[in-house]
């Protein structure tokens, strides 16, 4: 195994694991803003206990997110030294801005939120969870800025063997930043909604604090329905249209367009084979992809055959991850919509199978996040910075395969332990229920 492969493996695995936690933190923080806000405005003790209960789960999730996030901050330098030198003039600024504008806010006010309930006024206490949510969202913004610049670089010039900044505004608001940010943060909100809904459903089925759990469930279902609908339309749709315009190879890969077509079909289902390149068992609607992308059923969509072989991303993984993400997105709409209808008919809390489904759905938005991320990042390959620097040329030349293997095993064991402990403590806390909730 060579150092390049191992460096990629380590990056994929450490960031994939890290990316399980921030979506819950962001989504849960915003739901807590709602819960605590209701508790404050209505002076209702029930919402306060709800806040304490979910606040504790936020603290747990946040801690694992911080612990695994700090690895990311260093890993560009440790494993991708050539990349860091090439992009440092542009890529470092968003990371520093994230620290200054987001992390200080998040971590400072999280401490105040968790430990200051009896030390500050109710209004200031609510403000503290609001700042946690705002900080977490700003943090997502700057990370998305950095990632988007890798996807659609702008505001730079190639000089002195590196990309140098010419316009900070253009680099920050490059063609994919805004839509990627909306798409990703909304995904986090969905993850938060399903996290709360699933736990509330569990409490209802266990007959623990049922009244409180029902109220939490109601908030989560409505929140989940709105965010799931927005994710399809406009965020998901607009994001795909942006990819079609700025990264046509990636678009062809995720949509399964292997040959250039006019009136290109939208492929709903297929099993991709790579040798020879072919989609089997296709279910498609012709003209739909062209129409969705360019507003014209006859518009031409470039296929993989148009691009030089050395610039084509892996086709199987991008197609499969993208399509499964879309399937999950539709599932989120379906299940929250049905739950909302049942809620209106006052039958939701008696529909046992639906409550059970919500419990099992807790990890699904996280799966969708992972799949979307795989589609986005694998779809960018073979480039580490699209069109400018290849992944194969970007790793640290002086870090040996043995060293990386050591750190992969080290982080593998630590993260395995972390994952097991996180789930163990989470289940334990949920079983204790809001009754004994300490902050």
């Amino acid at each position: 195994m060579d150092a390049l492969f191992l460096a990629r493996l380590q990056f994929a695995f450490t960031i994939g694991f890290h990316f399980l936690f921030p979506p819950i933190s962001i989504g849960l923080a915003w739901l807590l803003v709602i819960m605590e806000g209701l508790g404050w405005r209505k002076g209702d003790e029930g919402y306060v206990r709800m806040g304490k209960f979910f606040g504790k789960l936020l603290a747990l999730t946040f801690a694992v997110g911080v612990a695994t996030g700090i690895v990311m901050e260093f890993q560009f330098g440790t494993n991708w030294a050539v990349y860091s030198k090439f992009v440092g003039d542009i890529f470092g600024a968003p990371l520093a801005a994230e620290g200054i504008f987001a992390f200080f806010l998040e971590s400072g006010f999280l401490g105040l939120y968790l430990f200051g309930r009896n030390k500050v006024s109710k209004g200031v206490h609510w403000f503290s969870i609001l700042m946690v949510a705002v900080g977490a969202t700003i943090s997502a913004f700057w990370i998305i800025v950095a990632n988007s610049w890798q996807q659609t670089p702008a505001g730079y010039v190639l000089r002195n063997g590196r990309a140098e900044l010419t316009s900070f505004y253009d680099a920050v608001f490059n063609p994919s930043t805004v839509i990627r940010f909306l798409h990703t943060v909304d995904a986090a909100l969905i993850a938060g909604a399903f996290f709360v809904a699933g736990i509330a459903a569990y409490l209802i089925l266990k007959e623990k604090e049922v009244e409180l759990a029902k109220r939490a469930m109601k908030i989560a279902v409505i929140f989940g329905l709105i965010t799931s609908l927005l994710e399809l339309m406009p965020f998901g749709h607009e994001h795909a249209r942006q990819v079609a315009r700025t990264q046509p190879e990636k678009f062809a890969a995720i949509e399964g367009m292997y040959t250039t077509q006019s009136g290109a079909p939208l492929i709903f289902f297929a099993i991709p084979f790579t040798k020879p390149l072919e989609l089997k068992a296709k279910i498609e609607l012709s003209g739909l992809l062209s129409w969705m992308t360019f507003g014209d059923v006859n518009a031409q969509i470039k296929g993989i055959n148009e691009f030089p072989p050395e610039n084509i991303p892996p086709l199987w993984l991008t197609f499969v991850s993208f399509h499964n993400m879309v399937v999950l997105g539709l599932y989120f709409i379906g299940v929250t919509l049905y739950a909302y209808i049942q809620l209106r008919r006052k039958k939701l809390f008696e529909t046992t199978w639906l409550l059970k489904l919500f419990i099992w759905s807790i990890p699904l938005p996280l799966a969708a996040c992972q799949l979307g991320w795989i589609a986005a990042e694998v779809g960018r390959q073979p480039w580490i910075v699209y069109g400018l620097l290849r992944t194969s040329e970007a790793h640290s030349p002086n870090v040996t395969a043995e060293e990386i293997l050591f750190s992969i095993i080290l982080f593998g064991l630590v993260y395995l332990l972390l994952g097991i402990l996180y789930i163990y403590i989470l289940v334990r806390e949920v079983n204790h229920g809001p009754q004994s909730a300490k902050a």
């Binding site: 801690a63 700090i70 260093f74 600024a93 520093a96 806010l105 968790l114 972390l418 334990r428 300490k438």
Partner: protein, 338 residues
């Protein structure tokens, strides 16, 4: 002062801020290994519980700022110190999660396990940061093309281990003073004793390391001794060293904490001054050193970052002071505690 120099000093300030703030966290963590019973150990955890996370952000921001302002240093040093950094990150991971995991299960075995995670997760970084600083002061093998040629074992040289010990002792002293401000009765008395003993150790080590640095890296003193700041830092540092035991004896811990923070700032300030304008001296040939000019970002990036810092930092300072003010005073173990 040009932009590159401004960024050199801004990053120095970030590192100093980090050392002062997470320094006492590390110290309290190391001391928790000597906590006598469950009640005492909970005081250790809760003394830094609400603030450690915000303190660690100084490191994250420092890393980001280094990447943005001096990407060549970020890339060269981080990839060069690969295994050491991986150990550091692992230690920081265990420290971070020990707060949330420890109090969730009643079992004594579980709690002891997290006490060790917290204690060693604090001790290891306290030493490793010192070792890293030691290697920078000593110079690291960087060739004409800016590539790092060293090895992991090469980082563990006697001089750098000495600096690692110095930082361990300094942070533990700093932490015991902080803990004294946060505790009562017998624990506070012991903190007072520890701080006094550690102060002694710190003075001895500081003298040894200073002489050793003079012998190992004379280039550090060539230019810096012409600067008035060198002597100002030196005088203030000597002042803190003399004043600290007086304050400790009188039981004036809040002031002692301020003075030990000042000592850290002066010591690191002096190091920064002696490195300037180099960031990483090369031990192969000083001409190959990474400096604030050959390792920096473009002027536009430095300028943009400066604007970001000027907007962001005052806001951060304002609410950080507010939050620390809310949590002033002794630790009370309540239902919200760790």
């Amino acid at each position: 002062m040009d932009l590159n120099s401004i960024w050199f000093w801004l990053i120095a300030v970030l590192i100093i801020g980090y050392a002062i703030l997470d320094g006492f966290d590390f110290g309290v963590g190391v001391l928790s290994l000597f906590g006598r019973d469950e009640k005492e150990r909970r005081i250790h955890f809760n003394a830094i519980g609400p603030v450690w996370d915000g303190n660690e952000v100084w490191l994250i921001t420092g890393g980001g700022a280094l990447f943005a302002a001096f990407p060549i240093v970020y890339a060269t040093v981080f990839s060069g110190f690969y295994l050491a950094l991986m150990l550091l990150l692992t230690a920081l991971i265990f420290r971070a999660i020990s707060f949330e995991f420890r109090n969730k299960v009643e079992s004594p075995l579980w709690r002891r396990a997290w006490d060790f995670a917290f204690g060693f997760g604090s001790l290891l970084p306290a030493v490793l940061f010192g070792i890293a600083v030691g290697n920078i002061l000593r110079g690291v093998p960087i060739d004409a093309n800016g590539n790092f040629l060293g090895t992991f074992l090469g980082l563990l040289n006697p001089y750098s281990i000495g600096v690692g010990l110095l930082s361990l002792v300094l942070f533990t002293m700093h932490g015991s003073i902080y803990l004294a401000t946060k505790s009562d009765g017998e624990l506070r008395d012991r903190c007072q004793q520890w701080a006094s003993h550690l102060w002694m150790g710190y003075v001895i080590l500081y003298v040894i390391i200073t002489v050793w640095t003079w012998l190992a890296s004379p280039f550090l003193f060539e230019k810096s001794m012409n600067s008035p700041f060198f002597y100002i830092f030196m005088m203030v540092l000597l002042g803190t060293i003399v004043y600290l035991p007086v304050l400790l004896k009188a039981g004036k811990f809040n002031r002692a904490f301020f003075v030990s923070s000042l000592a850290i700032a002066m010591m690191l300030g002096q190091m920064a001054l002696s490195l300037y304008p180099r960031l990483v001296p090369s031990s192969i040939d000083l001409r190959y050193s990474l400096t604030i000019y050959n390792a920096s970002s473009s002027p536009l990036t430095l300028q943009t970052m400066l604007v970001i810092a000027l907007i962001g930092v005052p806001i951060v300072i304002a609410y950080s002071i507010f939050i620390h003010y809310v949590f002033r005073g002794k630790v009370e173990i309540t239902e919200e505690s760790y």
